[in-house]
């Protein structure tokens, strides 16, 4: 056997040495794939080092609960049931404290409730004799599985208690069925509950004490940084739109303007984070009943603004551009609107980040609103003469109306950030440098 293996090995090495093409090609392909995979893993770790920490925490939690097997006195009291502590750690330990707590509480309560009901079902089934017992148990298992599975379709319940219902079905079935073979049902329930509690609390303790990741903090940062991304786009938009277009320029040439795109798809992650955050206890500047719903409201308004910005972005790369003369007439006003809305959004983002009452944002919004009035006057006063082609006015008119929409959105965002500031009693800090006062009076007419 050993000789055979050795000779096969020699043949293989011979083939490899001679560079048998299919093997060489295949091994090269595998090598590339493996290298790609490793560089992807390294990138994942660099993007968010908390991922590495989380993996180590998961390993630690699992190693800790496995002591139940290794340490004789512990093993004596739990025996094979210690397995449930291990299972609980594997499935309950999640990235954020909120997700871990939510799953832990779901699992604990569901085990308690299902265990209690299963004991009742076992007692009832016991009354029906040795032949009737499996039939009665079967009916119970069928009914609870069907009803609980159906209830899981309910969206409100699915969002928060889906995992609890799954564990309810699991525990009820296992305990009531086991009861048929093992009459110590109460002890079974007791051990199960205890091991689940031990596993669950190991997860929660490690997740809270060792470099905790708070879903609430993440949601807070996400909302602020999304707003900042829109601000960056708006600050840069005016200059980009009105500068002399260069041939062959495309989206890739202005990466700083593409940050807003991730905002459009952020609903799912925001909802998930808010769901987890609701389970989290007081931490840092966040209370237990922090107004997470208000964050979701701000997030929705930010996305609405982002969809307008998506349309504006389309106009940066449109094939049909308005004539230079027409564009230059509204250049200054539009650039001011865009710039001031951008500044307002960045201010609001900073206000959320530092939890300080937004001070200058209202002034920037007033500035942009008064520029909108100027734009109105400009559009009314007639931008064109009889020879102007309406087709050349349309893109400019569309950009103008989108910018007006953006100002409305920004004002809405500011209002809901102010609501948040009132709810959370944001600090009031006098700024050291005061921003420019709103412009009023005569509309400024552009280069013309």
């Amino acid at each position: 056997m050993d000789l055979e293996c050795a000779s096969q090995e020699t043949v293989k090495q011979g083939l490899l040495a001679r560079g048998w093409p299919p093997i060489k090609g295949f091994s090269k392909h595998v090598k590339t794939k493996v290298l790609e995979f490793f560089s992807l893993l390294i990138k994942l770790g660099q993007d968010d080092p908390r991922r590495v920490v989380h993996s180590l925490k998961a390993g630690l939690a699992l190693t800790l609960v496995s002591l139940f097997y290794y340490y004789q006195p512990l093993y004596k009291s739990f025996g094979v049931s210690a397995m449930w502590a291990v299972i609980t750690v594997v499935v309950v330990f999640e990235f954020s404290v909120g997700a871990t707590l939510g799953k832990g509480v779901n699992r604990g309560l569901a085990t308690l409730l299902a265990g209690g009901l299963a004991v009742g079902a076992h007692q009832l089934a016991n009354l029906s004799g040795r032949i009737g017992e499996p039939i009665v148990l079967g009916i119970f298992v069928f009914l609870q599985a069907a009803v609980s599975t159906f209830v899981r379709f309910c969206p409100q319940i699915k969002a928060r208690y889906d995992y609890g219902l799954l564990i309810f079905i699991l525990t009820f079935s296992l305990i009531s069925i086991s009861g048929f073979r093992d009459d110590e049902v109460l002890e079974l329930v007791h051990k199960r509950l205890l091991t689940v509690l031990i596993g669950g609390s190991t997860c929660v303790i490690i997740s809270v004490l060792v470099f905790p990741v708070w879903a609430g903090q993440d949601l807070h940062n996400l909302i602020a940084s999304n707003m900042e991304k829109l601000g960056i786009f708006l600050e840069g938009f005016g200059d980009e739109y009105f500068k002399m277009p260069e041939d062959g320029e495309s989206e890739e040439d202005r990466p700083f303007l593409q940050g807003y795109k991730s905002v459009l798809d952020s609903k799912t992650i925001e909802d998930a984070l808010a769901n987890f955050a609701r389970w989290e206890p007081r931490h840092g500047r966040f209370q237990f009943r922090h107004p997470w719903k208000q964050y979701l409201k701000i997030g929705a308004l930010t996305r609405k603004c982002a969809s307008r910005i998506e349309s504006l972005n389309g106009h940066l790369y449109a094939d049909i551009q308005a004539k230079r003369e027409i564009r230059s007439k509204i250049q200054e006003t539009c650039t001011t609107i865009s710039m001031e809305s951008g500044k307002a959004l960045k201010e609001l983002s900073m206000a959320i980040k530092t939890m300080v009452k937004p001070f200058a944002a209202d002034i920037h919004i007033e500035n942009s609103k008064s520029s909108v009035k100027n734009l109105d006057t400009l559009l009314k006063s007639g931008l064109w003469d009889d020879e102007t082609d309406l087709l050349e006015v349309v893109p400019v008119a569309t950009v103008a109306s989108l910018l007006i929409d953006v100002v409305t959105c920004t004002a809405e965002i500011a209002e809901s950030v102010n609501e948040l500031a009132t709810m959370l009693k944001f600090e009031v800090v006098e700024p050291t440098v005061s921003p420019e006062k709103p412009e009023t009076g005569q509309p400024k007419i552009g280069i013309s």
Copy 2:
């Protein structure tokens, strides 16, 4: 004890009978909540009766595997390990065949792989003596848990193999730790694998044979019906926009125009369905390697079109409406564009539904394109005189440019549906009634 309970009961009933306000209010509140919950459940069942069937199927699968406990010969060969069949059924049984198959395959392969590696780890640990063994095992458990947890962050792996990795961590930990107490590790792995296979195949068989729900079929229908919803909006848009606006009218008055809204948020569900569909074997008109990616492409284009329609919808209820005279000038052309794009989308939707090559869609798109040319001419020929306020032209110009965008989107959708038709060799059926031919030549000028 019994007496005490009874007396408490009497007091309670007495209070209830006298209608003690807080209790009365509370019980009324609970009653309302319970009734609401039940009517919600009934609605869930009526919306999709397959949910009821699925719940019954889940109950059936669970009752079937519990036979391993009730039936003596089966229990003899598996003993307590039969528990794993029950656990597998509870966690693997999902709504669609694809999701069930995906989870089942993940669980089966992960158990096999982790079981094999755990046996190896057990042998290695055995070499290090009674004291060294738990240390070596602990190191193995820690390392595999940390590495596997980290790999789960990789998005490509998370999408398809997240559950497999979870089961890998679970099985490896359980078996290598159990090995410390139980030297029959091979038998343990063997029993675990067998029971997981039995549980998994019970799920797959029931999910395929009893009223199967195919994720692929659902994705197919979803894509077609989303397209139809946009078509319905566009067919109705022209008449709604140009009709005499009535005071106080709002979105609620035109429910038939609101169907498109669900299209905007359909990305998550489309991605999930495509992910499940990839696991599904040939069924009906769908093969194993059906081009699901092409469906996702069509879905993305449909969403792009829906975002334009969202903007159009905003103009139906805008505060500033264009002057009637200006609107009436482009009424006929815009109505034609909207109507023809709508018809094209409905044709394309029907083509996907029936898997018949779209026949009339191209003609409708040609019609809408030639109307776009008419609109261009109309805009160029000058819609206004010197006294026209540009602010009154802007809304009309914006609607016109959005409609032009919609035509482009529709053409893109048609192209990708045609690609799908080629990939899947859609049937060619000659229609019985031929639609109108494209209009060419002189642009029609509206009412003016």
